[in-house]
Amino acid sequence: MRARDKNQYIATANQLHDGAVVYFTGKYWSQDIEQSFVTWDSDFLLKLAEETIEKENLISLEAAKIDENDPSISPISMREKIKAAGPSINY
């Protein structure tokens, strides 16, 4: 049996036609991070998500660690925070 990672993960990708960021819900993909499927097993998550990305016209599949102490789904790294929220600057 696989040992549990201490971190929780979500899966992200970009839409092929415009590059917009989307999140894997477990069944489909959504632009709303709050609908993300959360798991400790990033390998399992990526395998499950990988099966859908070609059909859904998605690219650049990645797993992102989230903060399990945050009641909302909140990525830990600055990279994933920015990916979720958009540039931190007023462009």
Partner: protein
């Protein structure tokens, strides 16, 4: 500047048709992402964090008001109303949809522009001195040679799949504004004892994870042999460059490993063979055809634009400050070149809105023969302004927020897009640049500090040239948190040097204070009229280290 002939137009038409087909095949699933990615990169299309990015080539940083208006149109119709000038004199759009990109390329082709050679392992867009053709310290205008290199390198079959990307910069001036020591090949136009024009050829410079100052491979290359010699350098690199490790694949590693003398020997052998074949160097007549596009303009114009005298006299100190750092001497008496800063205090370095682009295009028509230059420091230049028009130009630039008087000063910061956009970045660059710019936003303070170049990269790839900043800042990822290393003493001009890391990094909250500590230390220790760089050379790193770290 160079104008396309029917053949050039046909090349672009075919290329766009080909890319449109590739995009359609990708969207229909006929091409996989693995198959498509190198094809989109060959057309300047990257995937960033939130969207695609299209990088458009601006050959040797010279473009027209018509082309600038096209950028504005593209920014409005296909993007989010702005563009971003890069450290290789190009412009990029951060939000295009893949499905729109073939249409954007058609729009660009209609004004003789494209996105070829802005990505991938090919010879990239050749960069040059933004004052080319008008600089007082120039041996000759380097742009005809940059154009020759552009035509030679575009779709050159032998160099379409190099071990890594390859960057060439060329200058005709003794003061290096094109960072030629930090390119794969740097070319400086020189005259020999007989008064003949040629090139000093520098090879193996670069930044990135292994910053290296280029080595002189040939002190004088007769100008007629430019292409054969470049081809010899490229052939030697293409054959021997590392293809098994992308981090060791640049020419700088090859030159460093073998030594410049051994590399020179290899190049000389290749060059002899190429010269013997006799097909590479341009015949004089063909070369002249290119040169005909670069005849100096006739300087008889003056805008005679109306000046608002009341405003001018009220703000003449501001004007004088702007003039002192934005105006550059010109070859032709009575004219000047003017840097237009894209670094408003607290703004995003290199960004310009579509409205500003349109208005700037109008001003270029009135004041500078309809021509604009981009600089590797992410600013723009009007190269043909009558001295008498400077007050009126300043007033008009001020109206559109483009008269920031900070060129060459502490808030004229180079910053890469960093983690706000870039998928490769480890830390944000732009917010740090904005905070530093605000901290030192006062004109008086900036003036007191004097020339000081800050360059901020969001990762080791060094797109913002942090290694050659007088103060360089490198953003790194420290367990998911941004951290910033400080480097001091870098210099991109003819007195090239690579900055040294001072010590442990600083958090986002600390980095602006750290920069201020470095600046205050310099101000306290400098001698009369001594620049930051000269003071650092005299003092070394210790006083700065002491000020930054001893208290902790």
């Amino acid at each position: 500047m160079y104008q396309y002939d029917a053949y050039d137009h046909k090349i672009l038409e075919k290329r766009i048709e080909e890319f449109r087909d590739q995009v359609n095949r990708r969207l229909s699933g006929e091409l996989s992402e693995e198959e498509f990615k190198p094809l989109r990169l060959m057309n300047g299309v990257y995937l960033q964090l939130h969207a695609y990015m299209l990088r458009v080539a601006i050959p040797y940083g010279t473009f027209t008001s018509t082309q600038l208006r096209k950028f504005a149109h593209i920014a409005r119709k296909y993007d989010r109303g702005y563009g971003h000038f890069t450290t290789r004199q190009n412009i990029q759009f951060n939000w295009p949809k893949l499905v729109d990109i073939p249409d954007i390329l058609e729009e660009l082709a209609s004004v003789e522009m494209h996105a070829i050679q802005t990505s991938g392992n090919c010879i990239r867009n050749t960069t040059s001195d933004q004052l080319a053709g008008v600089a007082v310290d120039e041996v000759a205008d380097p742009r005809p040679y940059a154009e020759i290199i552009r035509q030679w390198s575009t779709f050159h079959p032998e160099f379409a799949y190099l071990p890594r990307k390859f960057k060439i910069a060329i200058t005709g001036a003794s003061h290096d504004r094109a960072a030629i020591n930090f390119h794969d090949i740097g070319l400086e136009m020189v005259k020999n004892d007989a008064g003949k024009i040629g090139f000093k050829v520098i090879v193996g410079g670069g930044l990135g994870r292994t910053p290296i100052i280029g080595s002189v491979i040939r002190e004088f290359l007769p100008e007629r042999h430019l292409l054969s010699y470049l081809e010899a350098i490229m052939r030697a690199y293409n054959l021997d460059g590392h293809r098994d490790n992308k981090y060791k694949a640049r020419i700088k590693i090859l030159v460093k490993e073998n030594g410049i003398d051994a590399y020179r020997d290899t190049v000389e052998k290749e060059w002899e063979a190429i010269k013997h074949e006799g097909n590479t160097d341009l015949p004089e007549a063909a070369q002249q055809l290119i040169f005909n596009h670069f005849t100096p303009p006739t300087y008889t114009h003056r805008a005679r634009h109306k000046i608002d005298f009341e405003d001018f006299f009220k703000n003449q100190q501001e004007y004088a400050h702007w003039l002192s750092n934005s105006r550059h001497d010109h070859k032709v008496e009575g004219y000047a070149a003017v840097t237009i800063s894209l670094k408003p205090v607290g703004g995003i370095p290199g960004d310009i809105s579509a409205d500003q682009m349109d208005k700037l295009a109008d001003l270029a028509d009135v004041f500078s023969l309809g021509e604009i230059r981009s600089t590797h420091e992410q600013n723009l230049v009007f190269a043909h302004v009558h001295e008498d028009d400077l007050p009126a130009l300043w007033q008009e630039l001020d109206k559109i927020g483009l008269a920031t008087p900070n060129h060459g000063l502490i808030s004229d910061i180079i910053a890469c897009p960093g983690l706000d956009y870039c998928a490769l970045a480890n830390a944000r660059s732009i917010p740090v640049a904005q905070q530093i710019s605000e901290r030192f936003g006062s004109d008086e303070r900036a003036k007191e500090i004097g020339e000081l170049k800050i360059k901020i990269s969001g990762c080791i790839n060094a797109c913002a040239h942090h290694h050659v900043g007088h103060i360089g800042i490198l953003g790194v990822d420290k367990k998911g948190v941004e951290s910033y290393q400080l480097l001091l003493g870098g210099n991109a001009d003819e007195n090239a040097s690579v900055g040294k890391i001072l010590g442990p990094g600083f958090s986002e909250d600390e980095i602006v204070d750290a920069v201020e500590t470095v600046v205050d230390t310099y101000l306290a220790l400098r001698e009369d009229g001594e620049s930051f760089l000269d003071a650092y050379k005299r003092l070394g790193a210790e006083p700065f280290k002491g000020a930054l770290y001893d208290a902790n």
